[in-house]
Symmetry: C2
Subunit: 144 residues, 2 copies
């Protein structure tokens, strides 16, 4: 593994985050991306993307993968996301980009099942049948 592989993976992750951020921005959301972990001076935690549309707040954890598979998220991150969501009055989500197809799926963070090893599991079939970005956007915009 070349010494800069980690950096490259992280950069690619940022490109996908950026794609989602720009899409939500174009839909009229105020969008905030968390800074790159390297440059994060602060101890305060925030989601990869916070997207706000007229008082409706989405806290989004972003994952990208070559092909659709089960996703695991560490319990510590789930707790932090939930804390952010409860302070802000927002809803926490996991957004998955499948790089092969270019498709996104968005799934509520609270549907994950805790594994004995302290991760939360989001099964492939649940991700596959969850909302597209467009469906999520329409849902958020239709709320009163």
């Amino acid at each position: 593994m070349p010494s800069n592989a980690g950096v490259n993976i992280r950069r690619k992750g940022f490109a996908h985050e950026r794609e989602l951020a720009v899409r939500l921005y174009r839909e009229g959301f105020a969008v905030i991306r968390a800074p790159a972990s390297g440059s994060r001076v602060v101890r305060l935690y925030y989601p990869d993307i916070t997207a706000i549309y007229r008082g409706r707040i989405l806290a989004i954890e972003v994952k990208s993968m070559s092909y659709l598979r089960d996703v695991y998220i560490e319990e510590r991150k789930i707790r932090r996301m939930n804390d952010f969501a409860s302070r802000s009055g927002g809803k926490p989500y996991l957004a998955v980009k499948v790089i092969g197809t270019g498709e996104w799926r968005v799934i509520p963070l609270d549907v994950g099942e805790r594994t004995p090893s302290g991760y939360y599991r989001y099964p492939k079939n649940l991700i596959e049948s969850s909302k597209t970005i467009e469906e999520l956007v329409n849902e958020v915009k239709s709320l009163q």
Copy 2:
């Protein structure tokens, strides 16, 4: 002027931002700080501090100064803050820290008067008589 003076001034600005961020966090807000301008890769604009309490969103521009004086903010920043506020459904504020006394004042961004040179002016006396952080927090928390 030593060559790193600009960097030092910026660092001090961050320390004050951080102080305000931590205070709001301790009051139960979800708080997001904008990354340092240097490390900002993205074109999306966001406020120095976004603080959210159960669906109530504050977009905060932070200024620190040795002694209380009039504050000027460029029109471009005001426009961006207003855009962020209208997308998010939040309220834009200017938070001023007077370093000498350690006191903070928080003033709604929309009370600034436009100068012929394209700045918005926040007069010293208006800042002086505006809310403390505690008063702002109590106001936000008392909203239904």
